[in-house]
């Protein structure tokens, strides 16, 4: 008999996703599924879906879920976790969702030290609504609502969420990863696993920011999109762990 080398995580439904070719969301879903499986926590996991391209994450991840309003996932996660402290609760949010309309909710969930895990998908654009400017849109980047390229005098600067949240006493674990290459994906999984481990051990708020490709929103090919992450996004959004609990080793 041949040994199975690669299979669908049990916590994912056997269905194709609706994401565009080259989209980062599918990769991040897969990492989430693998991490849930590896901890054996599917029956204890509750997810909160955002409003954005990944609103349909509940069609792919087979666990109890809420569908939030735009930006409010951390508040819903708070309500759930306060009722069932033994559940493992995560939110999955885009940059419009988390870094614009939902900034208050994520900051205060972090500062309260809610024992939840946030997957923050930064693709520098509003994917779902057709590629408008996001709070994370890079300087000079053209979007459908920054057609001249983002200029600080007109549109202000992009927000570095991971660095900002790392300043909070209440946050326990904050890191930024990317999924633009096999090597990056492997590192991203280790970090995501760490974030869940923090929650499982009751240590408090964890957030992983994923730099994610949106070829459609950026108007480039999937291959060009991975290059754009490497060359444009990472210099502005450096990868790394920005906050780790005392006495814990860094992942990398």
């Amino acid at each position: 008999m041949m040994k199975i080398a690669f299979e669908r995580p049990r916590s994912m439904f056997p269905v194709p996703t609706h994401y565009c070719p080259g989209c980062g969301h599918g990769i991040i879903h897969r990492l989430l599924g693998e991490v849930i499986d590896e901890f054996g926590i599917r029956e204890k996991v509750v997810g909160v879906a955002p409003v954005g391209c990944s609103v349909l994450i509940y069609n792919y991840i087979d666990c109890d879920m809420y569908e939030a309003a735009h930006g409010r996932a951390p508040a819903i996660a708070t309500g759930c976790k306060r009722v069932h402290p033994d559940l493992i609760v995560f939110t999955y949010q885009g940059d419009g969702d988390l870094a614009s309309i939902g900034t208050a909710e994520v900051i205060h969930a972090a500062t309260r030290g809610e024992n939840i895990t946030v997957l923050f998908v930064n693709n520098a654009v509003y994917g779902m609504t057709g590629g408008q400017m996001a709070p994370t849109t890079l300087l000079g980047q053209k979007t459908t609502t920054s057609p001249y390229g983002r200029a600080p005098k007109r549109e202000g600067y992009p927000i570095r969420i991971a660095e900002m949240l790392a300043t909070l006493e209440g946050a326990t674990y904050i890191a930024r990863v990317s999924v633009h290459s096999p090597r990056a994906v492997i590192a991203a999984k280790r970090v995501l696993k760490k974030a869940f481990e923090i929650q499982i051990n009751g240590l408090g708020f964890s957030l992983v920011e994923f730099l994610s490709q949106c070829p459609t929103g950026w108007g480039v090919s999937p291959t060009e999109a991975t290059k754009w992450v490497e060359e444009k996004m990472i210099p502005f959004f450096p990868l790394g762990e920005f906050k780790v609990p005392k006495n814990e080793k860094l992942v990398k």
Partner: protein
Amino acid sequence: MDEKVLITGNEAIGEAAIQAGCRFFFGYPITPQNKVPEYLSYRLPQVGGCFVQAESEIAAIYMVFGAAGAGARVLTSSSSPGISLKQEGISYIAAAELPCVIVNVMRAGPGLGGILPSQSDYFQATKGGGHGDYHLLALAPSTIQETVDLMMDAFDLADKYRNPVIVLADGCIGQMMEPVEFKERPSEVFPPKDWAVTGAKNRPRNLLKSLYLDPEKLEQHNLKLHKKYLEMAKNEVRVETYLTEDADIIIAAYGTVARISRTAIKILRKKGIKVGMVRPITVFPFPYETFAEISEKVDNILVVEMSLGQMVEDVKLGVCGRANVHFYGRVGGMVPTYDEIVREIEKIRRSQVS
């Protein structure tokens, strides 16, 4: 239990929630309801519950969404401007069919308005409030005892219909003191919350959502919600009639204004003018039938509100042209006095005689 305690309306709201088995409160400070969160921040930890002061009313209502979705009895309270902020979340809660209780200790608006009592959020509470075709079950107490009783009923009704219930109080009811009794209640059996998000152990996973991209499915969902509202209209209408049997003129009022109207009616009756009152206790569903019946018997109905005329529209729908509907209202935190109400009734009477 079964003994009376002197307590403010706001504290009574908090204690009634606890007696009704509510163990979760999420809110944000705003006058004139601050005693509700203050009381619960002290009481909930004593009974193994959880109080969270949220960063905003928006966050508070989504914490309610999370806790209600997780199967808990949960409360939030606020006052008018804060209730406005909660409207998005209330729409999502109604859409996802989650039971919860929302208290609005109404103050005067619009905008920041003032901190004194008002009834100007009637439309918001009874006609939907947020976006989409939905309704809250809306209860309007007029004494603190009734506030306590309705608070307890509110949790039961929320569970029964899987629908948010709003208790529509006002600054007077919130802040005054009255002796109340927290009555022992018969334990009711409610449908199991098998839809709740609790971890998908030995069952298919549960999903709480409101997105239906297929218009046929969304229409079905809307029709399902609508059926629930029709059920409420059939089963849950509550209304008090006071001295209506021999009345020539009827006052329609709810909440604090109904108390004042009661005094006005006593004065008018001493003067030989036979006035009665119809007091809606549920303002959604509204007692249209009662007004339809009463309009066969009297020619004149005076609606009194602390607004410039909101409930009056529902009264007119019930009356449907069969009687004259008059209106008297004070706003901005001004409370109508019984003298003013007496004067209004006398005015109606004079115009009928001449």
